[in-house]
Symmetry: C2
Subunit: 334 residues, 2 copies
DNA sequence: TTGAAAGCGCTAACAC
DNA sequence: GTGTTAGCGCTTTCAA
């Protein structure tokens, strides 16, 4: 029945071939000198007999687990964003090619107990954080622990390897473009600033205004919107302040804003234009489609994972790696 | 720096306390007889000195990994459904309480190589499958491998532990209710029947009709819709056939159908009523809200994980566990 | 180029 | 109730 789960050990291989375990081990790992002939003999034998080294034993001997930890947000509202799924899938993809597996750690609201456990229990060789908050307990813990780790996103914490999209430039660019296309009073409907990414987006927005000679008008700046109610209120105020374009800081905000406008009978782009700093399916399917920034989360996961492996190999890596973006101009700003 | 990662071993503890490793081991595991006094002594010592057994060594000695595998769909369209996130979070929750961790395995379209690897490499003690197809390669492999596993969803495969919602009864009930509320020609816009759940939903729909003395009208039955185009065509045909209520097999279909109706200027529930066999945020936020079935995916994950642990402990478990549902009657069918 | 032997940290007979 | 001992399956000095 369980013929697929192999139970043949390195000793079996050694015995069958009339050589020592050491030699078999060397043939497999490539460490140490070994005759090409014996090497081939071993390699073919283990292939034919489907021998797989036991990772527990390997791990015990070498102090490696062949696992990396993936830290995802535990609070459902965040966790369900396709962004994290795609990142994770990018991480898994690379991990697999390196013969590593990915262990999940759900961290909600600063509760790092699980993360702590997998680190202290030595269940992972390194960790990738799916997101970062401005004051991130998990990052602080990881730094203190000494385990190699990489974060997706940005942090103010020093000496942390970060992989992120170039949000500041992306947001600056899309803001400038909108202004060049004739927008006079772009209003920003922003999310909570505990997310570093929102800080960056805010910065990009401001730089965009500045680059086009526009002031940062407090009447057009609505930050820290969390609930649907917050957003609706901000939209009302922005409209009252005479905005000609609502720039939403992310897709969630954008969808709520869009619904709100429709409910109020305000037409897009007729009465007011709409753009978003982050893309999602829903916006792409919206009529008219929404002008937005586009990133590649899976690539983010890929790069984060590759970077972590470099760190594990003792290679030097840049503290910050910025990935690209695309500006998608659509009907919502025509 | 890495003061948090402990490196103290069972021998250190034994030596410090002037007792043997065995005794320490016993104090921790609770296996074998041990004096209450020594037990306490050990327990306090390891707590104070933050000793953690090395799982690799434990694993090597006991042949357990303290990991379970979570098999999620690798194709993004599926993977991003909140359903899987919530299930996974339910699984992690229980696993954590049992001192287990969760290893991810992404399986796309019958490609079981990664799953195979984690099983053959003995990186997990058991596996939970996040979904099942009608002819599921992964399930077949797992059966053959002999590793304990549990599937979320249903399968036709024999001797497989399944945890599922009671889709047949749920769909029968909502269909009956709609008919009792006056619907005469409910049309089913169905998804692909490679998903066992869709078979069950179809079955429930038919039973619902039957229970109210209505025939299964082929003109009102649209199955195997995959693309947006499929769905739109089906909606057109159903409307042309004079349906008075579109029943969508899942939330994805429902959203597309809703958009389509709006675009065509067909009002809900005025011109046609709409219901769905699966709930999602978007439908809850739709105006009017959509009548739908509601399940609890996290609970599904909880139960699946608890069941797997029973299997691992050698306990007998039912081959099929069915969880409940709720019918949410909303404005879309008034 | 190959092998013997020690050891990674823990568990589990089996003695005492 | 506690200790001795022999592994679990692999890597890695150190010799040969």
């Amino acid at each position: 029945m369980s013929e697929v789960r192999n139970n043949i050990t390195i000793s079996d291989v050694a015995e069958a071939l009339g050589i020592s375990k050491t030699t078999v081990s060397r043939a497999i790992s490539g460490n140490g000198r070994i005759g090409e002939e014996t090497r081939q003999k071993v390699l073919t034998y283990i292939k034919e007999n489907n021998y797989k080294p036991n990772p527990m034993a390997q791990g015990l001997a070498t102090q490696r687990t062949y696992n990396i930890g993936w830290v995802a947000p535990g609070d459902s509202s965040m966790a369900e964003l396709p962004f994290f799924q795609r990142c994770m899938s990018g991480v898994c993809e690379i991990a697999t090619t390196m013969n590593y597996d990915v262990l999940i750690s759900l961290v909600s609201e600063g509760n790092v107990t699980h993360l702590k456990r997998i680190v202290e229990n030595k269940k992972v060789d390194g960790v990738i954080m799916g997101r970062t908050l401005v004051d991130d307990k998990a990052v602080k813990y990881l730094k203190k622990s000494g385990i190699p780790f990489v974060v997706i996103g940005s942090t103010h914490e020093k000496k942390v390897i970060q992989i992120d999209n170039d949000h500041v430039n992306a947001c600056r660019e899309i803001t400038s473009i909108l202004i060049l296309k004739g927008i006079k009073k772009p209003a920003l409907i922003g999310g909570h600033l505990i997310h570093v990414v929102n800080e960056s987006r805010l910065k990009g927005y401001k730089e965009g205004l500045e680059s086009q000679g526009l002031p940062v008008n407090p009447e057009l700046l609505y930050l820290n919107n969390v609930s649907e109610r917050d957003i609706c209120k901000s939209v009302d105020s922005a409209i009252a302040a005479g905005t000609d374009c609502l720039i939403c800081m992310d897709d969630g905000i954008c969808n709520i804003a869009l619904n709100k406008l429709r409910k109020d009978g305000i037409s897009v782009p007729g009465d007011v234009k709409v753009a978003s700093f982050y893309n999602s399916e829903i916006q792409a399917n919206h009529q008219p489609a929404v002008t937005t920034l586009q990133y590649d989360p899976k690539e983010l996961g890929n790069v984060a994972c590759r970077t972590l492996f470099k760190v594990l190999d003792g290679e030097k890596v840049p503290e910050k790696t910025l990935l690209g973006y695309e500006v998608l101009l659509k009907g919502s700003t025509f």
